[in-house]
C-alpha cells in the first residue's frame, strides 16, 4: 500500500510569500500556489569536462552545463533527490527540504544518520557552507531550488553548484534522466535491483492497462482544498495513466504558469470520476467538505493515492501503478 502525503508544492511557494507579506495575502495567489511542477524541454546528454574538471550536461534542461573542478563527492541533496538517488547508491553528506519524513517519498531510504541542514522551506546556509559540498542536488531550475528566495539561492549557489532534478515531460523520461544524474554522481545504474525494477515497472504498466481496459472507469487526479478542487490533468502521472488506457477527467490547467486545473466546488460533480486519486492520500486523510463528501467516488470510497513528486524511480512507479491497478479492479462505475 502506498503511503502518500500531500505533496506540499503549494506551500512551498507560499513560504516564499510569507517571508515578504502578511498572512492575509497568503492565499491571494492560491491559484498559483501549486505551480511548481511545470516541466521543461529535455535534451538529455551527459559529457565529461576537460582539464581535470568534469561537466554535467543536464539531461532535461537544454543548454545547461554544470562545471565541477573535479568529480563531485560531497553532495548535499533535498529529500526528493535522495529519494530517487539512493536506489543507485548515491549518498549525501546532508539533506534539506520537504517531506523528509514521508515514507512514500523516502521509501526505504534511511536518513537517521544523515545530517540535516534545513527543514521544509528553511536552510542553514552556514551549516551548509561548513560541509564544503561539491554539489547541491534538488528540485529546481538552473537558478536554484524551487522554494528558496532569490537571495537564498544566490547564497547556496556560491557554496556549490546547484544541480536541478530532471523535469522531463514523461515519467519514463524523468526516470531515465534521473538515472543519468545518478550515473554522473557515481551511482550504480545497472545493478540487478535496477534491472529488476525496470521489469517490475513494465509488469505494473501491463497490470494497470489490463485492469482499466476491463473496467473502463474514469480517473481524476486531485488535490482538494477548502477554497477549490485542484486537478492534475496534464501531469506526467496523468499522462502515464492515459497512455495505459485510462480516461482522465478534470479541468485543464491554465494556459500559462500553473499546471493545476482549478475547479470551483460547485463544478466538482460535473466531472464524471469513478475513482479519485488524491495527492497525499493516506489512511489518515482527513479532508472534508460537503461537496467533496457528496461526490460519487467519495461516497463509494473509491479513493487512491498519487503524488506529483516523490522518488522518480522505476520501483516507485511500479508500486504505484500496482496499487492503482488494484484500486481499479475493486472499483465500480459510479459516475
Amino acid at each position: 500500500m502506498l503511503q502518500l502525503r500531500r505533496s506540499p508544492s503549494a506551500e512551498r511557494l507560499v513560504f516564499a510569500v510569507l517571508r515578504r507579506s502578511s498572512l492575509a495575502v497568503l492565499v491571494a495567489a492560491s491559484a498559483l500556489l501549486l505551480a511548481s511542477c511545470a516541466s521543461t524541454g529535455a535534451a538529455p546528454e551527459q559529457s565529461a569536462g576537460s582539464g581535470g574538471g568534469v561537466t554535467l550536461e543536464h539531461p532535461s534542461i537544454d543548454g545547461l552545463a554544470i562545471d565541477f573542478d573535479a568529480q563531485p563527492k560531497n553532495i548535499v541533496m533535498d529529500c526528493y533527490a535522495y529519494s530517487s538517488l539512493h536506489e543507485y547508491g548515491v549518498e549525501p553528506v546532508a539533506l534539506f527540504g520537504y517531506e523528509c519524513d514521508n515514507p512514500f517519498v523516502m521509501g526505504d531510504a534511511d536518513i537517521s544518520d544523515i545530517e540535516v541542514v534545513g527543514t521544509d522551506g528553511e536552510i542553514d546556509v552556514e551549516k551548509l557552507a561548513k560541509l564544503r559540498p561539491d554539489a547541491i542536488i534538488g528540485q529546481g531550475t538552473a537558478d536554484g531550488w524551487n522554494w528558496f528566495d532569490e537571495d537564498v539561492n544566490a547564497q547556496i549557489t556560491r557554496v556549490a553548484p546547484f544541480v536541478p532534478l530532471p523535469s522531463s515531460e514523461t515519467i519514463e523520461g524523468r526516470i531515465a534522466d534521473t538515472r543519468e544524474i545518478a550515473d554522473f554522481f557515481g551511482g550504480d545504474v545497472a545493478s540487478e535491483a535496477i534491472v529488476q525494477s525496470d521489469e517490475d515497472l513494465e509488469q505494473a504498466k501491463q497490470a494497470f492497462s489490463d485492469a482499466i481496459t476491463d473496467k473502463k472507469l474514469n480517473l481524476m487526479l486531485t488535490s482538494p482544498a477548502k477554497e477549490m478542487l485542484y486537478t492534475g490533468v496534464g501531469f506526467a502521472q496523468a499522462e502515464l495513466l492515459e497512455e495505459l488506457g485510462a480516461t482522465i477527467v478534470g479541468a485543464d490547467a491554465p494556459k500559462t504558469g500553473n499546471p493545476w486545473g482549478q475547479v470551483a466546488w460547485e463544478d466538482a460533480s460535473t466531472y464524471p470520476a469513478d475513482i479519485l486519486l488524491v495527492e497525499g492520500y493516506s489512511e489518515d486523510f482527513s479532508f472534508s467538505s460537503e461537496l467533496w463528501d457528496a461526490l460519487p467516488a467519495v461516497q463509494a470510497d473509491q479513493l487512491g493515492a498519487w503524488s506529483s513528486k516523490g522518488a522518480m524511480t522505476a520501483s516507485t512507479y511500479a508500486a504505484w501503478l500496482n496499487d492503482v491497478a488494484a484500486l481499479v479492479s475493486s472499483s465500480t462505475k459510479v459516475s
Binding site: 502525503r5 500531500r6 506540499p8 503549494a10 506551500e11 512551498r12 507560499v14 513560504f15 510569507l18 517571508r19 502578511s22 498572512l23 492575509a24 497568503l26 492565499v27 491571494a28 492560491s30 491559484a31 500556489l33 520537504y98 527543514t119 521544509d120 522551506g121 528553511e122 482544498a225 477548502k226 477554497e227 477549490m228 485542484y230 479541468a251 491554465p254 486545473g261 482549478q262 475547479v263 470551483a264 466546488w265 460547485e266 463544478d267 460533480s269 460535473t270 482527513s286 472534508s288 467538505s289 460537503e290 461537496l291 467533496w292 457528496a294
Partner: protein
C-alpha cells in the same frame, strides 16, 4: 452628505413657541436616513439573490428556486444549491453584517477612521489561534478550528484593550490603535514562525486564511449566529454612548458618560462580531474599513445610523465581491482577495471624490 449628530449631542430644545428649526431639521434628517435605508436594503437583497443565483456552475434561476422548494439530496443541482449557495449566502449576510458593524465600532472607540478588525490585531489573533490548534492540538477541520479562531479574536481584543486603555494615558485612541498594530505584528510573527516550519499546517489553513465563503457548512455558520446577534444588539445599545465618546473624553465625562465603560461594552461587541465573522469566513480585510466609511458619508457622524447602514452595506459589498470571485476565473478567487482588490480603489476614489467625514 455629511450632517451633524442629532438628538444625543445637540442642544436641548428651549423654544417656547412654535417649532424649533433645529428640531425640524433633525427630524428631516432622520426621515431621510430612514428612507435611505430602503434602497440599501434592496441592494443588499440583490446581492444576496445574486449569491443564490450566480456561481461558477451555471444554473437556471427556475431550477434554483425549484430545488430550494423541493430539496433532493441525491440531485447534483440540489447539492450545489443547498451545500454551496445557501451556506455561502447565509455566511455573506452574517459575516458581512458583523464585520461592517465591528469596523464601525472600532472606528468609534478609537476615534480613528482608518481602523478595522485587521488593524486592531483581531485577525492576527484569530489566525494564530487557528495555527496553534492545527499545529499542536491535532485539529483537522473547520468545525474545530472555528472555535479556536473565535477564542483568539476574543483574547486579542481584550489584550489590545488592556494594553492600550489602561494606565495613566488611558483613553488615548492613538495608543489603543498602536497597541492593536503592535500586538497584531507580534501575533503574525508567531504564526509565520510556525507556518514556515510546518507545511502541513499551512496547507490546512490556506483556504481559511484567504478569507473565503467556500466549503463552509451551514451548521458552522449558524453556530456563530447567536454570538453575532449578541454583538449587534450590544453595538446598537452602545450607539448613543459612542456619540458622546466621539466628542472627546472630557466632553463625554462632562455629559455624564463613562468612557471606559463605553469602551469595554464596545470591545465585547467587537470581539463577538469580528471574532465570529473571522471564525466563520477567515480574515476578510477592508470590509470593516469600507462599510463604515460609506455609511458615514451618507449619514454623517451619527453612530446609530452608521451602525444601521453598515449592517446593510457590508453584506452588500461582500455579497457582490463573493459573486465576482466565483465567476472571474475558472476556479474561484476568495472573497477576502476580491474585497481587498475592489475595496482599496473604491476607498481611494471616495477619499478623493468626497470629503471624508470625521468619526
Amino acid at each position: 452628505m455629511p450632517s451633524q449628530p442629532t438628538a444625543s449631542v445637540s442642544a436641548p430644545n428651549t423654544s417656547l413657541s412654535g417649532a424649533d428649526p433645529r428640531a425640524s431639521a433633525a427630524s428631516n434628517s432622520s426621515r431621510r436616513r430612514w428612507i435611505g435605508l430602503i434602497p440599501l436594503a434592496l441592494l443588499c437583497l440583490a446581492a444576496l439573490a445574486s449569491s443564490m443565483l450566480v456561481g461558477s456552475r451555471s444554473l437556471p434561476p427556475a431550477d434554483v428556486v425549484h430545488v430550494l422548494l423541493h430539496p433532493d439530496p441525491a440531485d447534483a443541482i440540489s447539492q450545489t444549491v443547498w451545500l454551496s449557495r445557501v451556506p455561502r449566502t447565509v455566511l455573506v449576510l452574517v459575516a458581512g453584517a458583523a464585520l461592517g458593524v465591528a469596523g464601525a465600532l472600532m472606528q468609534a472607540v478609537t476615534r480613528n477612521p482608518m481602523t478595522d478588525p485587521g488593524i486592531l490585531g483581531v485577525n492576527a489573533g484569530a489566525s494564530l489561534a487557528v495555527v496553534v490548534g492545527l499545529a499542536f492540538f491535532g485539529m483537522t477541520d473547520i468545525s474545530q478550528y472555528m472555535w479556536w479562531s473565535f477564542a483568539g479574536a476574543m483574547i486579542t481584543s481584550v489584550l489590545v484593550f488592556m494594553i492600550g486603555n489602561t494606565g495613566s494615558a488611558r483613553g488615548n485612541p492613538v495608543r489603543m490603535t498602536l497597541s492593536g498594530v503592535a500586538l497584531g505584528a507580534v501575533l503574525s510573527g508567531f504564526s509565520s514562525a510556525v507556518l514556515l516550519s510546518n507545511s502541513e499546517v499551512l496547507q490546512k489553513m490556506r483556504g481559511w486564511s484567504a478569507g473565503t465563503t467556500a466549503s463552509q457548512p451551514l451548521d458552522a455558520t449558524l453556530a456563530i449566529v447567536p454570538f453575532i446577534v449578541a454583538g449587534l444588539i450590544l453595538a446598537m445599545l452602545s450607539s448613543r454612548s459612542l456619540d458622546l465618546l466621539s466628542l472627546g473624553e472630557a466632553s463625554a465625562v462632562a455629559m455624564g458618560a463613562h468612557p471606559n465603560r463605553i469602551r469595554i461594552v464596545a470591545l465585547v461587541a467587537i470581539a463577538l462580531l469580528a471574532g465570529g465573522a473571522t471564525a466563520a469566513a477567515g480574515p476578510i480585510g477592508f470590509l470593516g474599513l469600507l462599510a463604515p466609511h460609506i455609511a458615514r458619508m451618507i449619514v454623517g457622524p451619527h453612530q446609530g445610523w452608521i451602525l444601521a447602514y453598515s449592517v446593510l452595506i457590508a453584506p452588500t459589498v461582500m455579497g457582490f465581491a463573493d459573486v465576482l470571485g466565483r465567476v472571474i476565473t475558472a476556479g474561484e478567487v476568495p472573497v477576502g482577495v476580491v474585497t481587498a482588490f475592489i475595496g482599496a480603489p473604491v476607498l481611494i476614489y471616495m477619499v478623493r471624490r468626497f470629503r471624508v467625514s470625521e468619526v
